[in-house]
Every structure is written in structure tokens, then in C-alpha cells.
């Protein structure tokens, strides 16, 4: 088997798809602004209401689509590479659920109203807490099944606590909030959300991109990788904290968006010849493209209903698992 298709070509293709979808996302929305008017309003700032719609509503939404999709794809690839398991993803370890819990607590205790960074910081704290808890439950060098079970435990616990917080809230909208956190949405996000989450997302990316070579070496197992000059504790810290940072911040803005971190790296892996280091940038671009596409779809399929992002990503995820089962059965036969 050759080393996948040409790597630069793959990255260029994914990058192009991301750019195109970014532009389409800018042009999608209930206000029927024409193509040229949209671009003029976006770039020049003239055009009154149209400019506001483009710059304050559509632009942040598209930017967040890229930031969040890339974070999910990147961290999914990093986790799969580090755990040496193609079914790993940030949600598996309870990171998204715990980040949601942190965000909900920040909102409901009023901290986020008092101090705007409180929201992404508490989501981050939730994410790191999840990781530490999973590590504690599963132990060092755990079997995959133990790790997964620990992740399920953390997810369930965080989900229960989130539901409890919302159930006890005196605010009548609380019950609907669960839907947002469980299914994710980018509706009506503003540039404020972009600026708040950007530092954490960039920090997460900076940490994750450093481990590419180490993940390649981990193909040979931990012992060999350690003797090839990599400090495995440092790799683990970078993977864990990097994931917690960018996924925590992403969740605080958009709620829990599932499946992208699992499906995108899994699908792109054959195209990069299996190499974890190459998979990470490809997965980041792929994740950005998929999330943008899903966010465009929610606005196009049922514009008058508040279709949630997570519904669409789940519609990608479910058939993916079916395909996996068929593939495994075929290989085993």
C-alpha cells in the first residue's frame, strides 16, 4: 500500500474545501442578501443592516465553525494516535460533557455575567477535571476497555450534574438549555464568543501540533517510542491538556458537538497512509470542513425550525458506525 495519496495534494484539497465552505457559510442565512451585496457589506462595512448581519452574525458563525471543527478533528486525531485506538475521541473521555458542566455552572452561578472569561475558563476546568478523573479511574497504561468505561462513567456523571443544575434552576428556560448543551448549536454567536475562545483554542492547537512526531513513534509502542528520544510524560501532558483546552473552549461556545472528532480522523487515516503525525493537520482541516457543512445544512434544511448542529453530526455518526460494523464483518469473514 502506498503512503496514501500525495500528502500536499490532500492538504490542499481539504484546505480548499474549507475555504469554499467558509464562503458558503457566510452567504447562508434567513436574510436574503444577494451575493455581491453580502461581500460588499462584509468587506466595506457599508450597507447598514446588511453589514451588521454579515459582520456581527454571519462572520463569527463561520469563524467559529472553522475553529471548533478544526479543534474537534485535531484533538480526535491526537487522541486516537496517543491511545493507539481508532475509536477514541474527546467525547469518549468525558471532556465535552464535563466542559458543558463547567459552562453551565459558570452561567447559573452568575459568574459568567460578572467576569466574561469565567465561561471558557470553567469549561476548561471541567475538561481538565474529566481527564484527571478518567486517568484516576482507569489507571496508567490502562486497557482500552477500561479507559472507555471510565470515560462513560465521567460522561454520565457530568451529564447528570448538568441536568441537576438545570433542573434546580429557577429560570424557566433551564429545561431547554439541556437540549443546547447536549446537541450543540452555533446560532447567534457573536464576535465576543470568537475573542473569548480564541486564546484557549490556539493554545490547544499549539500543544497538540507539537506531538506529531511522538505519535508517529508511538506506532511502535511506548517502549520503543521512549527509546527513540521522546519523553512520554510530556507527550501525554500535551495531548491531554491540548485536547482539554481547545475542546473545552469549543464546548463552552457551541455546546457538545459529537462524532466529528471520531469520524473525521478515522475516515482520513487511509489517505495519509496511517501516519498519526500527518493525520493531525488533515483532520483539523477535515473537521473544519465537516462542521461548516453541517452548520450550513442546519440553516438550509429547515430554516424556520431551530435544527441543532448535533443532530446533523449524529446523522453522520450513526451510518458511520454501521459502515464500520459491515467493514469489520467483511474483514473477519
Amino acid at each position: 500500500m502506498k503512503d496514501g495519496i500525495s500528502y500536499p495534494l490532500l492538504l490542499a484539497g481539504l484546505g480548499l474545501a474549507t475555504v469554499v465552505l467558509f464562503v458558503v457559510s457566510l452567504l447562508t442565512g434567513p436574510a436574503g442578501i444577494s451575493f455581491f451585496d453580502s461581500l460588499e457589506a462584509l468587506l466595506s462595512g457599508r450597507g447598514g443592516a446588511a453589514a451588521i448581519v454579515m459582520q456581527e452574525i454571519r462572520l463569527p458563525r463561520a469563524i467559529l465553525g472553522v475553529m471548533i471543527g478544526a479543534s474537534l478533528g485535531l484533538s480526535g486525531a491526537a487522541l486516537q494516535g496517543y491511545l493507539r485506538n481508532p475509536l477514541a475521541e474527546p467525547g469518549l473521555l468525558g471532556i465535552s460533557a464535563s466542559a458543558s458542566l463547567g459552562a453551565v455552572l459558570a452561567i447559573y452561578t452568575g459568574l459568567s455575567a460578572a467576569f466574561s472569561l469565567a465561561l471558557p475558563l470553567m469549561a476548561l476546568a471541567g475538561a481538565v477535571g474529566a481527564v484527571l478523573l478518567v486517568r484516576l479511574l482507569a489507571g496508567r497504561g490502562a486497557q482500552t476497555i477500561t479507559l472507555i468505561l471510565a470515560g462513560v462513567a465521567v460522561t454520565s456523571f457530568a451529564g447528570a450534574m448538568t441536568s441537576l443544575a438545570l433542573n434546580l434552576s429557577p429560570n424557566p428556560f433551564a429545561a431547554l438549555e439541556i437540549v443546547f448543551w447536549m446537541l450543540g448549536s452555533l446560532k447567534d454567536r457573536s464576535m465576543t464568543h470568537v475573542w473569548l475562545s480564541l486564546p484557549f483554542i490556539l493554545a490547544g492547537w499549539a500543544m497538540l501540533f507539537q506531538v506529531g512526531r511522538a505519535l508517529d513513534a508511538l506506532t511502535l509502542g511506548e517502549a520503543a517510542a521512549a527509546t527513540l528520544g521522546f519523553r512520554l510524560e510530556r507527550v501525554q501532558a500535551l495531548v491531554v491538556l491540548g485536547t482539554a483546552s481547545c475542546v473545552g473552549a469549543a464546548t463552552s461556545v457551541a455546546g457538545a458537538v459529537g462524532f466529528i472528532g471520531l469520524v473525521v480522523p478515522h475516515v482520513l487515516r487511509p489517505l495519509v497512509g496511517g501516519q498519526p503525525g500527518r493525520l493531525m493537520p488533515a483532520s483539523a482541516l477535515g473537521g473544519a470542513a465537516v462542521l461548516l457543512a453541517a452548520d450550513i445544512a442546519v440553516r438550509v434544511i429547515a430554516p424556520e425550525r431551530d435544527l441543532k448542529l448535533g443532530v446533523l453530526t449524529a446523522l453522520i455518526g450513526a451510518p458511520f458506525f454501521l459502515w464500520l460494523i459491515f467493514k469489520l464483518k467483511r474483514e473477519a469473514a
Partner: protein, 257 residues
């Protein structure tokens, strides 16, 4: 005296068991040393302890420098290690896998350089993998995979190579080719320490043999001095037919003691 590898008073305790007790030995440049002993004697642990993969007390140094004082990358350029478990997690190509051996030499970013390319090619031809270079590592047979992983260690181009049961699962021809490769490395001035179960291979190819039992060195020296009937009976619990042939020492276990 610049020893290629100097091990002093290595003690390793795992759980409540003393797995290695006060192990000390030297290796010179250009030596091919066989590490022998029954299952559970501590051979794997010894190799891991030298590489710093298990915690132990004692001192390991190379040409006068303590390994503990080096950074992991520096260690990676001095010693290559082949674990017993032949793990490959992803369907990467054989070429990519071998190239991983260049990791300690490559800086963070940047494509492989000429010396990396040459090292990989040398390793591929040394292990006779030319026709497999583009195959997925997960599609190989057990023996092919073993050779690929050895090639990785060769590509690392280190003065010292430690390998844990490298001949296991190889057919006779490839076993001999492997021993021949190690011999060639030794004649280039490198040092090879290989743990082996194949007594005849050790007898025929190793300059020196270290026999370990129960965590301690029982005997050390040229193969014919160590692989004696009494040692074989005490350490392995077997009777063997030992003969000297034109190819070297031949040790064939014939029955239990």
C-alpha cells in the same frame, strides 16, 4: 578505558520481587554479546533497565558518560532498543516504519535529509526488505514484521544495539541472516547485545555470552566456556549434545535432567 557499555550494580525490584540482583558487566566496541537464560531469568528486565524503561538502582554508562545524565534524544542516538513485543499500531508503510528509527536524529520539523534517506536504504537492504518497502506494515507475516522492526533499529545507526529475542519467529535462513547482520555491525565497531533462546545461534555467532539465572549473572565468557553441560543442567535443567562443527559450537538440547 572506553567501554561501549558499562553496567554497574544494576538492581531492579518489581513489586515484591528482586528481579535483578547486582548485575554488572561491560561491553566493548565491536562485540556481539548474547544474553542467555531461562524464561523469567530477567533478560528482558535487564535490557529495559539499561534503556531506562524500568526503574532500578545502579549505574549504566557509555564511554564514560552516564546514561542517566543524557537527554532522551541523546540516548536515542547512542542506544537502539528492540522490544520483544512487535507492536505496530497503524497501517503505515514499511518504509515509513523504518524511517521512524531516524527520530532521534531529526529535528522537530523539516523533511528527512540525505543522511536519513541513506540510513533507511542501508537498513532496507541489510534486512532484505526491498520488495516490501511500500507494503502496509500490518499486512506482513510475523517474520517479515520482525525483520522490518529490526531494520528500524538499524536505521537508528547507534553505536550500541539492544534487542530482546530478535530471532523468535524467523525461519532458519532469516535467523542466520540476522545473526550475520549483527556480526557485520560488530565488525563495523558497534556493539550488539541480543537476548536469545537459540543456543546454537549464540554458540556460532556471539563473541561472548552472558548467562543469567534468577536475576544474577551465572557465567560470562566465550560461548564454549559458558555453554557447558553443567551450566546447561543447572540453569536450564536440560541435557544437551554439544559439539564443535566447522561453523562453530552446536548445542542441541536432548532431554530434561
Amino acid at each position: 578505558m572506553s567501554c561501549a557499555l558499562s553496567v554497574r550494580s544494576l538492581n531492579v525490584r518489581l513489586g515484591r520481587r528482586d528481579v535483578l540482583r547486582d548485575v554488572s558487566f561491560d561491553m566493548q566496541p565491536g562485540e556481539f554479546v548474547g544474553l542467555l537464560g531461562p524464561n523469567g531469568a530477567g533478560k528482558s528486565t535487564l535490557l529495559k533497565a539499561i534503556m531506562g524503561l524500568v526503574a532500578g538502582s545502579g549505574n549504566v554508562s557509555r564511554v564514560g558518560r552516564r546514561l542517566a545524565d543524557m537527554t532522551p534524544r541523546q540516548r536515542g542516538r547512542e542506544l537502539a532498543y528492540l522490544p520483544q513485543e512487535r507492536e505496530v499500531a497503524w497501517p503505515v508503510s514499511v518504509h515509513t516504519l523504518i524511517e521512524l528509527g531516524r527520530s532521534p536524529h531529526r529535528n522537530g520539523l523539516g523533511p528527512p535529509r540525505e543522511q536519513d534517506r541513506l540510513a533507511v536504504e542501508a537498513a532496507i537492504s541489510a534486512m532484505d526488505l526491498g520488495n516490501l518497502r511500500d507494503r502496509s506494515a500490518l499486512e506482513l507475516s510475523g517474520g517479515e514484521r520482525a525483520r522490518v522492526l529490526i531494520a528500524r533499529a538499524l536505521a537508528q545507526e547507534t553505536p550500541v544495539l539492544l534487542t530482546d529475542e530478535p530471532a523468535a519467529g524467523l525461519d532458519p535462513a532469516h535467523q542466520i541472516a540476522l545473526m550475520s547482520t549483527f556480526r557485520n555491525l560488530a565488525s563495523e565497531g558497534r556493539s550488539v547485545l541480543a537476548s536469545l533462546h537459540e543456543l546454537t545461534l549464540a554458540g556460532q555467532w556471539c563473541d561472548r555470552v552472558i548467562l543469567i539465572a534468577d536475576g544474577s549473572i551465572v557465567a560470562e565468557g566465550p560461548p564454549d566456556a559458558v555453554l557447558t553441560p553443567s551450566n546447561l543442567a543447572t540453569v536450564y535443567g536440560v541435557r544437551a549434545q554439544i559439539s564443535v562443527t566447522s561453523d562453530g559450537l552446536s548445542v542441541v538440547p536432548t532431554g530434561l535432567v
